[in-house]
Symmetry: C2
Subunit: 431 residues, 2 copies
Amino acid sequence: MENRHQVVILGGGFGGLTAARALRREPVDVTLIDRRNFHLFQPLLYQVATGSLSPGNISAPLREILKRQKNARVLLGEAAGVDVAGRRVLLKDGEVTYDTLIVATGARHSYFGHDDWGTFAPGLKTIEDATFMRRRIFLAFEAAERETDPAKERAWLTFAIVGAGPTGVELAGALSEIAHDTLKHDFRRIKPSEARILLIEAAERVLPSYAPDLSASAARALKRLDVNVLTRTMVTCVREDSITVQAHEGTKVIPTRTVLWAAGVRASSLGKALADATGCEIDRSGRLILEPDLTLKGHPEILVIGDLGNFSHQSGRPLPGVAQVAIQQGRYAASTVRARLQGRSRPSFPAFQYHDRGNMATIGRAAAVVELPWLRFSGLIAWLAWLFVHLLNIVAFQNRMLVLIQWAWSYFTFNRSARLITGDNPFPLDL
Amino acid sequence: MENRHQVVILGGGFGGLTAARALRREPVDVTLIDRRNFHLFQPLLYQVATGSLSPGNISAPLREILKRQKNARVLLGEAAGVDVAGRRVLLKDGEVTYDTLIVATGARHSYFGHDDWGTFAPGLKTIEDATFMRRRIFLAFEAAERETDPAKERAWLTFAIVGAGPTGVELAGALSEIAHDTLKHDFRRIKPSEARILLIEAAERVLPSYAPDLSASAARALKRLDVNVLTRTMVTCVREDSITVQAHEGTKVIPTRTVLWAAGVRASSLGKALADATGCEIDRSGRLILEPDLTLKGHPEILVIGDLGNFSHQSGRPLPGVAQVAIQQGRYAASTVRARLQGRSRPSFPAFQYHDRGNMATIGRAAAVVELPWLRFSGLIAWLAWLFVHLLNIVAFQNRMLVLIQWAWSYFTFNRSARLITGDNPFPLDL
C-alpha cells in the first residue's frame, strides 16, 4: 500500500472534497485531513445564523461521503505545518507523508488588523460562528424586551451588518424578515418591526463584485425590506455598545449591541507556514501566490486550491473566494495527479482555467439577483433559481429534503423554528 | 392590567408550558419565565446525543408556542430566589410579582455527591449536554482510529453507560447501532463493531421501574445488540481514562475514555431556595415535599409541578420524573387557579390524582417495551407504538415532519446525518 502514490488533502471543504472524490478511480491512496468530521455547505450558513436551518441540515459527515471510496481515508486532525523537504504534513499530534499535497484549508473572517473587534462583531465561517451569531441576534430582542431605558432598548434593537457582499446582503434580508414577520406577535412590550437594520459597505454600492444594475436592484429590494444601506462608509471602531462609521459627511457613533461581521476574510494560517517553508509569496490577505497550474513555485508536488490561493493568471485579479472556484480547482488538482501518474507533465497539459458559471445572491423572500455569463436578472425568478441551485448542491440527499421542507414551511408560516439561543450561561443578558 | 390576577410560571418544560396554555381562557395575566427561549422535547434528547436528530428538531421557541395567547408573556430570565412574603420572584436581573406562583424548574442530572465525575461523565438534560455527549461519542471513534497503542485504542472503543433506566437503555441501543451499522464502512483501521458497550446498573435488572418481564425482554434485546449489561453493579469512581465498578464478585477498574451518565437526577437549586424561604421540607434528591394539592405547606399561592416536587400522597412513593406527571400536574395547577378565581377552594375541589397512562422505552431498531395499565408488550409493535406516541407529542408540527423523515431515513440507510463534532478546539483528541 505504501508503494502507491500518496495524495494528502488538507481540508474537506468544497475544494478538498472535490479533489478527493475526483481521485476515486486512480491508483493512489488519498488521505483527507480536516479539523472537523463534516463537510459544511457554507453558502447556507447564514440561514443557521438566522434560525431557519439547523447545523445538521447543511453538514454531511466526511466519512459518510467517502465511505464507499476504498482508496480514501479520512483523518480528523489539524495541520500545524509542512516539512517540505521531507514531504511530511505535521499534525498537532502526529505526521503524514505525501507524494502530492493538495492544500485546501480556506480562509477565516478577518477584522483588518482589529482583532479586538471580534469579541463584539462575530463573523460567519463555522457552525460555531453561526450558532453564536444566532444567539446574539435573538438575545438582542430578548434584552430589548427586558430593557427599561429607551436609549438602551434602541441600541438592542439596532443591528449593524458590516460588508454588503452576498453574505451581508443575505443576513440583512433575513434580519428584516425576523423583525417584520417571524417575531411579529412574539413580544408584548417591544415592536420587533421597529428594529433598525444597517448594512455598512465601504464600496460605493452593495454587492460590489456584481454588475451595477444588479447592485441597484439589490439596493431597491433592501430598501423595500426596510434595510438602511450605508455605502462609501468605513467602520473605524467596534465596541460592546456602539459602532463608529466614517463617511464623506463625517464620523458617526451609532449605539448598537449587535454588530455582525461579513466583511474581510484572511487565508488560514497554513498559508503563512507554507510561504515560510517554500519561499513562496503571499498577498496581503495571506493567500499564496500560485503558479498557472495551482502549484507553489519550485514545488510541483504542492497544489493549493480554494480560498487559500491567489490565482491571478487569468484576469490579473485573484479569483473570488466562492465554492465554484474551489470545486473547479479541486477537479484540476485531481487531473494533475492523474496526468503525472501517466507520465505527462506541464506544459503537455493546460494551465488551470476558471469558467465562471455565474453568481447569485438572495436578498429575502422572493428576491435575489443572478448574474450568468450571458444574462443577468433579479426578482422572483432569480430567487427560484437561487433556491434550486442551492438545494441541488447540498451534498447529502437527506439534507436536501430537510432543507426543502423547512424552506417551504418558513415561506408559508414566516416561522424560523431553529431560532434556539444555545450556549452555556445565557445570563446576564448583556452577554 | 395590574389588577388582574398575576400568575407567574417558572420553567417552560412540559409542566410549565402545559399550565400556561391551560390558563389561556382565564382572566389572568400569565408570565412564563425560562432561562432558555425554547421548549425542549426531552424524551428525544438522546437522539441528538447520538447524531440522529438536530437540536432544532426537538425544540420549539416558547414565544412561537404562546404568540397567539394574548394573556401570556414570555420572559427570558433565571430565577435566583423567591421573596415569599413580598410575593416576588427575584431574577438575576430584575423581579416579577405574583399572586400565584407555579414552580416547574425541573431537575438536573446528579452524581450522588461526586460532582468531580461530571468532567468525565456527561449527563443528558440540556441541548448543550446532548451536543457535548455527541462530541464525546464520535470523537472517541476518531481517537481510536488515530491511536497506535492497542490498550489505549481499546479504552477509546469502550463505552460505559451508567444507569439502565429508559435513557440509559436508549443510549446503549443507539450506541450499538452506531458501532455496528452507522460507522460500519467509515474507518480504515479500526472496526467500530468491536466497540464494547457496557450498561451499568445498581439495581438487579435493567429498567428497574418497569415490570420484571419487560425488564427481561429489554435485557434480551440489549444482548442481541451486543450490549454488555452489568446489573447489581455500583460505580465507585470515574476518571478520565477508567471507571471503577463494584459488584458481588469484587471491584474492577475498566479502562474507558467515554462514560455517559444516565443515573441520578437532582432537583433544581430553586427547590432548596424555596425550602429555606417557606420552611417546607425537601427530600434527599432536593425535591420539595408537596401537599395533596401540589402547594407548599402554608403557602397555597405556591404550586410546584414536575420533577421539582415530591408528591407521595397517592402511593406513598414519589411520582416518577416523567413528562406525563408534569403535564397532568400542569393542568391541575391551572384548574386550581381557575377554581380559586371562582371563589372555590380546597376541599371543595379534589386533591391531585395521577393517572398513569403507561410507560415506554425504546431499545433500538424495532425493539421497545410498553407498559400500559392493562397490558404489557415488547418488540416491533411496542417500537411502532413508541414512534407513534413520541411523534404525536412533539410540540411543533414542522418538527414532527422533520423527525419523521429523519427517522425513516435512518431506518433504511442506518445513517445518522447529524453526527457533527462541534464545539471549539477539538484538539488534542484526548479532550
